[in-house]
Symmetry: C2
Subunit: 360 residues, 2 copies
DNA sequence: CTGAAAGCGCTAACAT
DNA sequence: ATGTTAGCGCTTTCAG
């Protein structure tokens, strides 16, 4: 009864469909033990007691035959899938790509797989998210979005599985993980103040709903703390992209030609746009004007001059998100509200001490 | 019998686990029809004949209740999952991110979901890939890799599901979709030749196994066609990254100071590194030296001067890959070997006509 | 220390 | 024009 029996099943015909999967039943036939026993052995079920020799036998046969439990059957039986769903706008944005990678590796480390869906913001109605959850039986949902509206939050609460917002302020939604953009904005501004700059322009963002608005508040915090009066004329509402940085800086130059010695852009891209315009106008960076970005990335290093910026805890964000949602799923936590500290100033070539008496 | 019966199951207790799923059985109770009938209705099974009124009834109830078929049960029953696995090295690389997005949207459009796995090259043994396939029951596998070795190819052939290489030359592996890098390299070189350049340096790549080697061959093709003798001294073996571009260009400058009027980098990043070094040495781009990259992307537009480059059919690549693997899965094709044409020259500010008589 | 049985939700073959 | 049945591969009582 302990002896593995040899079964011949060499139907290696052209039909690959026929290729018999190694299931528990197969292992049962080979080893003589019951499916249920084998299942428990392979899952290291502590409640099972079995002779060490038999345990070893079963494990060996399983690994020799390359047994891999079937996720579908498992999900069906357990009514859960050991997978997490992530709603992501686009991976083109390296910020998101980096977060997603961290999420993925953390999930993997904790035995979950990650199912990514690129539902666009407009289409991401609760109904669609519900359907996604139900269809794939994901155990939890991570939502990265550019913004969200309030009615959304209400629906989120009565979701069949835990939901968590990533990198978004989420009033009304129970679980979220964000970064303290405000103190990040202050940090960036402080860096410029430390270099002696007093006329610091800020390329901001239109809506108060965006994260970036917090950076603006941090900008004001730092000015205030340094006793530098806030001048609304130095703030231009822009956006996240290169083109936004270009447009905002053009506007700034038109509005006050030369009346600033530094620019703090909301974004790497916006700052890059700014540098581009400055150079086109013959304004040298950092000699005449210093430029500071936000977020770190390849882009910052590749620009000439390399962009000074704030390192943003993207990896930590992704990891915390994955850990958070899995904790929720496993009931290890009932609520997750985390605010990560922003990173650190990464000084590079785009910022330099303010020229004394520069009042062009 | 046609009348929907009202069932009370309002156990909206704190336990969300209890929240009863809408399954075929539930629909069966509500409508009075059998599960199997409902299943066939909902899948628009052509072999089923049913009264239009009943069909409508069933469909309505299903949608009212928000029925969503359970993927796990379906996979188990059908022994397939309607999902495609993708083995990707990293999404940090925007090239990959873009391809993956195209793959994803194409899969979605054809009713498949995409399961991404970041198995690293070193870990991507056939055994691991097998396990991945078996575990998730993916119907097909898309493999993006930086390189592969020959033994790999052999194992690939007897996989339980179709496998396809994306953007890799794959001798031995049946299915692949690649881009004609060679003519792309020729195109890039031709652009510089057209501008009057004759001393065109090329930052190449070390191994012949890389795609980029094809670009080098294209470079030689174009030179030959133009009757410009190939000078090995103008070719520096580098790599894909910014730092590689920096190092290679430094080497080039040391080797022959000024003996070239243009640089063709294998990559956007390498070209960016090159521009950086050139500027540091006081060599103006494009006035003194023109620089040409390969692949298009945000990066190219953001650099100053904006980088001239070759648009690469990234989206098409992803789409063709997804379509190919799904065709294989569905038996619509038995083999997929596609080579896409490279894109087109995107001229920007980093290339300009060669100065006449520049023989520094 | 181990086995038998039931059932998750679905679909396909075979009944009516 | 619809219903019945069986079973995909797994885990969980409950019995020995």
């Amino acid at each position: 009864m302990d002896d593995p029996r040899q079964l011949k099943q060499r139907n290696r015909s052209a039909k690959r469909l026929n290729r018999s999967r190694v299931t528990l039943s197969v292992l049962s036939e080979k080893t003589g033990f019951d499916k249920s026993t084998i299942s428990r052995v392979l899952r290291d079920d502590a409640t099972l007691s079995i002779r060490p020799e038999n345990l070893a036998l079963i494990k060996n046969v399983a690994s020799d035959l390359g047994y891999v439990p079937d996720t579908a059957a498992r999900s069906l039986r357990l009514a859960r899938s050991y997978s997490i769903g992530a709603i992501v706008p686009s991976l083109q944005n390296p910020i998101h790509a980096q977060i997603v990678e961290a999420v993925q590796s953390t999930c993997q480390a904790r035995g979950y797989s990650l199912l990514i869906s690129y539902i666009q913001l407009e289409e991401s109605t609760p109904t669609r998210l519900q359907a996604f959850v139900q269809k794939h039986r994901v155990d939890g949902l991570l939502v990265h979005m550019l913004r969200y509206d309030a009615s959304f939050a209400a629906e989120m609460r009565r979701f069949p599985v835990p939901v968590m917002m990533v990198n978004r302020l989420a009033e009304g939604v129970a679980n979220s993980i964000t970064v303290d953009d405000r103190s990040g904005g202050a940090l960036a501004t402080q860096h410029l103040l430390d270099l002696g700059h007093r006329q610091i322009a800020h390329l901001s963002v239109a809506s108060q709903r965006f994260n970036a608005h917090q950076r603006f508040l941090g900008y004001r915090d730092a000015l205030k703390a340094a006793g530098v009066p806030y001048d609304p004329d130095l703030v231009v509402e822009a956006g996240y992209d290169f083109a936004d940085g270009v447009a905002a800086t053009e506007a700034l130059l038109k509005r006050r030609r030369g009346g600033f010695t530094a620019v703090f852009g909301v974004t790497l891209m916006a700052a890059a746009g700014s540098m581009n315009v400055l150079r086109r106008h013959g304004i040298e960076v950092p000699r005449n004007v210093s430029v500071m970005g936000f977020h770190d990335g390849l882009l910052a290093q590749v620009l000439t001059p390399a962009l000074s910026t704030i390192a943003y805890p993207l990896f930590e964000l992704g990891k915390a998100a994955a850990d958070g949602i899995i904790d929720l799923v496993e009931g290890k936590r009932n609520e997750v509200v985390e605010v990560l500290a922003t990173g650190v100033v990464v000084p590079r070539q785009s910022t330099a001490p303010a020229l004394p008496r520069t009042r062009t």
